[in-house]
């Protein structure tokens, strides 16, 4: 990996910024250069949320991801908005429980994960985002347990440390899917 540009997108409340932050921390722990840039403002309240994450061997130039190598879309408006921006040969991960349509492009790899349904079935209704992150890491061959654990410890506050286990489990479910 020289430079990987991620775009996480979905509704506010789906943990979009959290999963992006996890990915950035994991990169930092793996010794990479990283940046994380959220959308901000009124659009965050109930509307679409997105964040740009860049993980690179080189210093990060612009932190704005306009041509993602990896798009995570957790609702239809996000897929509609960003499908065309994905770099040729890139990857799209989408929550197929919430997005009924298929990806139209044929020059990208697409992964349909019924993340919201899986989250509900496994008693972790708020962790569809991390199920998808698990799948992303697996497809990128980047699911190193040590750095996953270390990154979880960074993004989960000490008061809620017990949440690390269930987040890890969510990622494992995603990876196995």
């Amino acid at each position: 990996m020289a430079t990987k540009q991620f775009l996480f997108s979905g509704f506010g409340g789906q943990g979009i910024l959290f999963s992006g932050k996890f990915m950035a921390y994991k990169g930092l722990i793996d010794g990479k250069q990283v940046s994380w840039l959220p959308s901000y403002g009124p659009e965050m309240r109930g509307g679409t949320a997105s964040c740009s994450v860049i993980v690179s061997d080189e210093p990060v130039g612009s932190p704005i991801v306009s041509k993602p190598d990896v798009l995570i879309a957790m609702n239809l408006p996000s897929l509609d908005k960003y499908e065309s921006t994905v770099a040729k040969g890139g990857m799209i991960f989408l929550d197929s429980s919430l997005i009924e349509r298929k990806v139209e492009r044929d020059d990208v790899s697409v992964f349909y994960i019924p993340a919201t349904r899986l989250a509900g079935e496994n008693g972790m209704p708020t962790l569809a985002n991390m199920i998808i992150v698990g799948k992303v890491l697996k497809e990128l061959s980047d699911f190193a347990p040590e750095s996953v654990d270390a990154a979880l410890a960074k993004v989960i506050s000490a008061k809620r440390a017990d949440m690390a286990d269930i987040n890890r489990k969510a990622m494992q479910i995603g990876a196995a899917n």
Binding site: Y25, I29, L37, P38, Y40, G41, V60, S62, P63, S66
Partner: protein, 354 residues
């Protein structure tokens, strides 16, 4: 790397200010910099400091004026419309020669404008932060680490020269997270014999004041202040040069615009175009020498800005109009894409090398 933490730029400013010994913060909520106030509200009570949400930007800058009068490190932060309100206080701080740190995390304007990133307060920060003849030291970070570094530097320069340092950032710098280290050597605060902390009946009273009704005296104070400004211009300029050694084209950009430009430069170099970047870190004092030297080598400057073209005037002045200076810009909260900058570079390259 593992000792670094991911922080938002706004939070990095707040924590760096605390590390620098700032224990007084006054502010008023405004997007996209409110994290600074929220961070201070949480931290200050735990370290014996004072966070106070003021009734207005005007009150906040005057509370800053009050603490600054006592010689303690103090700051406020806001975004563009709020900085306009602080303009009165900035002028008084200058007139009374008080050190303070003011942060502007810019958003698009004019008027209420928007909340997305902008650099359209360049004129306001570098030319006319308020009424009267005065300058502020204006620092333009281009990474979260620099948000922290320049905050510490800003306090030190403010104390050294008894004036306001302004961090001129933008919405992306405030909102983005990057690894940051807050392990600083902070210079001890200077002696401030002028501070109004009570005479203790041991000295004549100190007066913090910007009123000079006798024009000869007011003129004298202006001339003295500008002697200091001249010294700062000669000694405190900071800038970064990127791939300038063999450059035929020079991009001028600061903050987020410089980050975007670097992407474009990498692409242009792949196409064989010799292009480099001069990134002013101090917007005032403007790194005139760097641009003057480049003007002898390059065939064109491109000023990349998130505004209708403000810094471009300083680039033209600094380069003595020896070569063309063109503008590549977005405004109103939009950010130029690397592709847009690349197109501008390719267009410039058509003119050939010098």
């Amino acid at each position: 790397m593992a000792d670094k933490v991911l922080m938002k730029g706004n939070e990095a400013i707040a924590e760096a200010a605390i590390v620098a010994g700032c224990r007084h913060y006054f502010g008023y909520p405004i997007t996209p910099q409110t994290e600074i106030a929220a961070y201070m509200a949480k931290r200050m009570p735990k370290i014996g400091g004072c966070f106070l949400q003021a009734e207005s930007e005007i009150a906040a800058i005057n509370m800053v004026y009050g603490v600054a009068s006592t010689g303690k490190r103090v700051m406020t932060s806001s975004s563009s419309p709020g900085i306009s309100l602080k303009g009165e206080g900035l002028s008084y701080l200058a007139g009374a020669d008080l050190p303070a740190l003011v942060v502007n995390v810019q958003r698009g304007g004019p008027g209420l404008g928007g909340i997305q990133p902008s650099q359209s307060d360049y004129f306001q920060a570098t030319k006319a932060g308020g009424h009267g003849d005065f300058r502020m030291i204006v620092l333009a970070p281009a990474s979260v680490q620099e948000m922290a570094d320049l905050t510490v530097k800003g306090f030190e320069l403010a104390d050294k020269y008894r004036m306001t340092s302004m961090i001129l950032a933008d919405g992306t710098m405030g909102q983005m997270m990057e690894p940051v280290s807050l392990d600083f050597e902070v210079a001890p605060a200077a002696e401030k014999p002028w501070a109004t902390t009570g005479t203790k009946m041991e000295r004549e009273h100190n007066i913090v004041n910007s009123l000079f009704l006798v024009p000869e005296e007011l003129e004298k104070s202006n001339f003295e202040r500008y002697e200091r400004y001249k010294y700062i211009e000669e000694n405190e300029c900071m800038w970064e040069e990127y791939l300038m050694e063999d450059a035929d084209i020079c991009i001028a950009a600061f903050g987020i615009a410089a980050r975007v430009s670097k992407n474009a430069i990498v692409e242009a170099r792949k196409q064989g175009i010799k292009v480099g970047l001069i990134r002013p870190i101090t917007l005032w004092p403007f790194p005139t020498k760097a641009f003057a030297a480049a003007a002898d080598k390059v065939s064109q400057f491109i000023s990349v800005e998130l505004s209708m073209g403000q810094m471009i005037e300083d680039v033209r002045l600094a380069s003595g109009c020896k070569v063309p200076v063109t503008l590549c810009n977005r405004a109103g909260g939009m950010i130029p894409s690397p592709e847009q900058v690349l197109d501008a570079i390719i267009e410039a390259a058509k003119g050939g090398a010098k």
